[in-house]
């Protein structure tokens, strides 16, 4: 009976959802001879400014609550509920905008372009998660970020990603952040927003390619926990660094680790560091030599990276519409193409001098060229530092959440026997009080 009841509920739900399908679409036939007048174009009114601050207030509350639930209550269920709320509010209700991840670009652009006024709410959306991370770890990722939330909900059959693969794939996030900052700094494009894989779901519309990419990420996310957060999220890169030095952070065990290893496979995001042993003496000496070589190689890697990326500056600069337009106009002027595009037609309709367009594009190319050098040096340096990181001996006696990688989802809590002791004590204390 209970089973039948449980089956009826979704059946009724589907019936309700299917109702619109039966609706007959009616479209009045046009009557050209009746003096039909086209209706005036109307525009949706702009969102009232006060809502921005409501969003900020909701963000602040969600961050506070998330931090409390993760660090004090250690309650996975409550974290899950907050995750669902964040998905509904910041995702489906606010349609994924404004978000802290994309706000990075606004801040960068405001930094490099004095004429760009970044809204205060956007600044807060960028800063608040950083501040909270600095104090409490990645509680924003845990239950506030809508992009993280939608991925978190589809984690069904998580598979461990080997450390080597994780380490290599994470380079993508740094590269993505670097390119996003470069393109935002030159005013070229906000690629984080343009290629937001989940915004099409939140808005139930969007570019088909992005929709497919988002769908693929969610399907992958069934088996590999939060692939976007771990391997692509540019904001996550910043949060990782802040989380390393955060004042308080997630601990698997509420008091002491008894090395029971029960939590070993509990994290779907591979963010639990196992206890370690000392390296063999021979390997230790070898690693010291390797470390020395890598430190010497750091500037070489940075310079090589700078040169390699500088060669791509022309391609990167094409992200800027002015450069693309100048390219197109040049192709048209030089007879390499015979037709026009909407953009080139519109430009030609303005009567602006083509030489001026070329000059603007050249200026952007120059800026992008310099930015590419910096980006390349950054990537080279990053690879060097990563190699150094993997050459340094780590000593851990306990199982602990990775300082940078832990998304503070709280899944590991219930795997720890000490947590159950704690909960039992709390329960007993409550009963005793009664």
């Amino acid at each position: 009976m209970k089973r039948i009841g449980l089956l009826i509920i979704p059946a009724v739900f589907f019936l309700f959802l299917s109702e619109p399908v039966s609706g007959v679409e009616r479209f009045p036939p046009p009557d050209f001879e009746s003096g039909y007048e086209l209706p005036q174009t109307t525009y949706a009114p702009a969102r009232r400014g006060v809502y921005e601050y409501i969003d900020v207030a909701v963000l602040l509350c969600a961050l506070s609550l998330s931090s409390y639930l993760v660090l004090v209550k250690r309650d996975r269920r409550a974290i899950f509920v907050l995750t669902v709320f964040s998905l509904l509010y910041f995702g489906f209700w606010r349609k994924g905008c404004v978000c802290a991840i994309g706000a990075t670009q606004n801040i960068v652009l405001a930094f490099f372009d004095n004429s760009y006024a970044v809204p205060f709410a956007v600044v807060l959306f960028f800063l608040l998660p950083l501040v909270f991370t600095l104090f409490f770890g990645r509680t924003f990722c845990a239950a506030v970020c809508p992009l993280g939330a939608i991925q978190d909900l589809v984690v069904l059959k998580p598979t461990a990603v080997p450390l080597w693969l994780e380490s290599a794939l994470r380079l993508l996030a740094y590269l993505y952040l670097g390119i996003a900052v470069l393109l935002a700094a030159t005013g070229s494009a906000f690629i984080i927003c343009r290629y937001d894989p989940f915004v099409s779901f939140f808005r139930l519309t969007g570019n088909l390619n992005i929709l497919i990419a988002g769908g693929c990420l969610l399907v992958i996310g069934v088996f590999i926990g939060r692939p976007y957060c771990r391997f692509l999220c540019p904001y996550g890169v910043i949060l990782r660094q802040l989380s390393r030095v955060s004042q308080w952070r997630v601990k698997i065990t509420p008091d002491e680790c008894i090395n029971c290893r029960l939590c070993e496979d509990s994290c779907p995001f591979g963010a639990i560091n196992k206890s370690t042993a000392d390296w063999p003496r021979r390997d230790y000496n070898k690693s010291k030599t390797r470390l020395a070589i890598l430190i010497i190689l750091l500037p070489v890697l940075a310079v090589s990276g700078a040169f390699a990326t500088a060669a791509t500056s022309g391609w990167l600069s094409r992200a800027h519409p002015t450069v693309r337009l100048a390219d197109r106009i040049y192709l048209e002027q030089s007879g390499n193409v015979k037709d026009t595009t909407d953009a080139s037609l519109a430009f030609r309709g303005t009567g602006k001098p083509i030489d001026q367009l070329y000059a603007q594009a050249a200026n952007i190319q120059d800026k992008t060229g310099f930015g590419s050098l910096v980006l390349g040096a950054f990537m080279g340096l990053l690879v060097g530092l990563k190699l150094i990181k993997h050459s340094v001996r780590r000593h851990r006696t306990d199982y602990e959440a990775d300082r940078a990688g832990c998304l503070a989802c709280g899944r590991c809590f219930q795997y720890c026997p000490r947590e159950h002791v704690r909960l039992k004590k709390i329960k007993e204390a409550i009963q005793g009080n009664k």
Binding site: K2, R3, L6, L7, F14, L17, S18, P20, E25, F27, P30, F32, L153, L156, K157, L163, W164, A168, L169, L171, L175, F201, L204, T205, L208, C260, R261, E264, D265, S266, K274, S275, A277, W279, P280, D283, A308, G314, R318, A326, I329, Q333, G335, T340, L345, R348, G349, G351, I354, Y358, A362, V383, K386, L387, H390, S391, R394, Q414, Y415, P417
Partner: protein, 576 residues
């Protein structure tokens, strides 16, 4: 510890029913979502594949209908298909929207079911046997180093692929987007050459030829259609246009051999091509001289049809400006400023404000700017002259002589001194804009003013021997006026004093030209009068073409191109 573990996780047997229900809910909703997804994909394919095909069919039917305007059946079919397309489009948009909600709902139930099932079916953790920590750590570190290095390698390969992809480096573009001033000055890109001044950039121009004997005539080619427009010469090509009441064509001749390289039709447009144009025979259907920017050639005709062709005769665009309301027939030649084609489209009465100055982007045919002009119809051509460091577009009309910014159409100055039936084009020389009102007066205007400069910037005006058709020519010190009846008058630029006059006893339609210190005057009988500029008229030569001429001559390096009523002539020596 095992007790704790057992308490911590839900026993799958005890929660079997709930587990089954959650799982089946997930399966049912998953199937439902898959069906909705398939329908959405089909709907999407219909939008992307089927609808464009139907839209294309509709466009073809519309084009066909223009040729058969009386076909009621076709009109009915067009309306029916149009209705179908619009109805289906809205239906599919609606389906996409609703389908999206259905899919989302299905997926939510599916994920919730799976999530619940996974919680209910969760088993206690069973850690594998402890491994060798030392070995593991060393192995993981080594593999991570290799992986990061491999990542670096992949990024480098990606960078190389991108770097070797052909890219345009805008910073290295040195070719100007439009002809340089040097190119314009070395060619004859429009009516009366550079700045419409009628001055040759070359001094090695022949002074002796005879059309009857062929002496000095390099070649002579028949022009397929009639037209009073003058030759335009650019980089070894000579361009002309010709038209009848039904046909409009542009011709390109090889400047070296005279071979007709191509003939291009300006297809009649719906606005201009189907209406009859009432014009004077003396004006003809192709009075305006074509213009070129060295990349394309542009032509306008009496019915307002405009055509653009590349140097191979391929049509780039055509356009109709509407049939002009012109008493004698439209005759203003085209002018160029950078990439802009400038059209003085004067018509009707001044109070009707039907006249326009239009700038069209040469490449695309798009109107860049357009200004209404409170002037009557005129037959003069606009000129683009460099005044100081900036260019000005100068027009002569009734009653305003006006200077514009050619880039934007902004009116810079205007002077109320134009007379009726303005035909001579203005010239800019010696710091003055000279504008001639037929049979009435000539004015010298300083073009450095702003707004209405009638009372402030007209330096002098004169009323003696004022021509009616021919445009003046000036070297900055003196200005020559040539009357149709054959009176050549030399004025002093600075003060408008007449220096001398000469009766040539023949008629002229072509405007005079200057070559170094010589003036070239081409009579309607085809006789070129060549005289030295001096204190008085000092004739050097008279050269007969042997054919009537209405158009002005074009000058190139060592050559003159003259359009007779039937033939195009190239005068010069073979070794030039």
């Amino acid at each position: 510890m095992s007790k704790i573990r057992e308490e911590s996780f839900v026993d799958s047997a005890s929660a079997g029913a709930a587990y089954q229900a959650a799982l089946w809910s997930a399966v049912v909703s998953g199937v439902f979502s898959a069906i909705v997804l398939v329908l959405l994909v089909v709907n999407y394919l219909q939008i992307k594949v089927l609808d464009p095909l139907r839209a294309e069919r509709l466009e073809m039917m519309k084009v066909k209908f223009i040729g058969e305007p009386l076909s009621e059946d076709m009109l009915f079919d067009i309306r029916r298909l149009d209705l179908e397309i619009r109805r289906d489009k809205i239906r599919r948009q609606f389906f996409s929207r609703r389908g999206g909600y259905l899919l989302l709902g299905g997926l939510v139930v599916c994920v919730a079911g799976l999530k619940l099932a996974s919680v209910l079916g969760r088993r206690p953790p069973q850690p594998a046997a402890p491994d060798d920590k030392q070995a593991r750590q060393m192995r993981e570190a080594a593999m991570a180093r290799w992986a990061v290095t491999a990542g670096l390698g992949l990024l480098s390969v990606a960078a190389l692929i991108v770097a070797f992809n052909p890219q345009i480096n805008i910073t290295e573009i040195t070719a100007p987007a439009y002809p340089s001033e040097e190119q314009i000055n070395n060619n004859w890109a429009g009516f009366r050459g550079p700045a419409g001044a009628g001055i040759s950039a070359y001094e090695n121009i022949p002074t002796k030829w005879d059309g009857k004997t062929g002496d000095g005539i390099l070649w002579k080619s028949k022009v397929p259609l009639r037209g009073h427009n003058s030759p335009v010469v650019w980089a070894g090509r000579v361009f002309l246009s010709g038209a009848t009441s039904k046909k409009r064509q542009v011709f390109c001749f090889d400047a070296l051999s005279g071979e007709l390289l191509w003939t291009a039709d300006v297809a009649g447009t719906a606005a201009g091509g189907t209406k009859a144009v009432d014009i004077m025979d003396d004006t003809g259907y192709a009075a305006p001289t074509v213009a070129t920017d060295g990349r394309r050639v542009y032509a306008i005709f009496a019915n307002g049809d405009l055509g653009c062709f590349d140097f191979d005769g391929k049509s780039i665009w055509t356009k109709s400006l509407g049939v002009p309301d012109s008493t004698y027939g439209y005759a203003s030649s085209l002018a160029m400023y950078r990439n802009l084609l400038l059209i003085q489209y004067d018509q009707g009465m001044a109070e009707e404000v039907k006249s326009r100055m239009i700038a069209i982007d040469g490449y695309s045919g798009r109107i860049v700017w357009e200004v209404r002009r409170p002037v009557a119809g005129s037959w003069a051509s606009p000129i683009v002259a460099k005044v100081g460091e900036k260019h000005q577009l100068i027009t002569c009309s009734d009653p305003w002589i006006t200077g514009y910014n050619p880039a934007t159409g902004e009116e810079l100055w205007k002077a109320l001194c134009g007379g009726a039936d303005m035909a001579p084009s203005p010239v800019y020389a010696g710091g003055f804009v000279f504008a001639v009102s037929p049979y009435d007066h000539i004015v010298a205007i300083r073009p450095d003013g702003r707004g209405d400069v009638t009372d402030t910037h007209i330096s002098w005006s004169a009323e003696d021997s004022i021509p009616d058709i021919c445009s003046p020519v000036s070297n900055g010190k003196v200005i020559f006026l040539l009357h149709t009846a054959g009176t050549l008058t030399c004025y002093q630029c600075a003060d408008g004093k007449i220096l001398w006059e000469k009766e040539l006893d023949t008629s002229f339609n072509a405007s005079p030209s200057l070559v170094g210190d010589k003036i070239y005057l081409l009579s309607t009988k085809g006789v070129m009068f060549i005289a030295r500029i001096g204190a008085e008229y000092e004739e050097i030569a008279r050269c007969e073409l042997g054919e009537k001429v209405h158009a002005s001559a074009a000058f190139a390096n060592g050559r003159i191109y003259i359009r007779g009523t039937k033939n195009l002539y190239c005068i010069g020596t073979a070794n030039e």
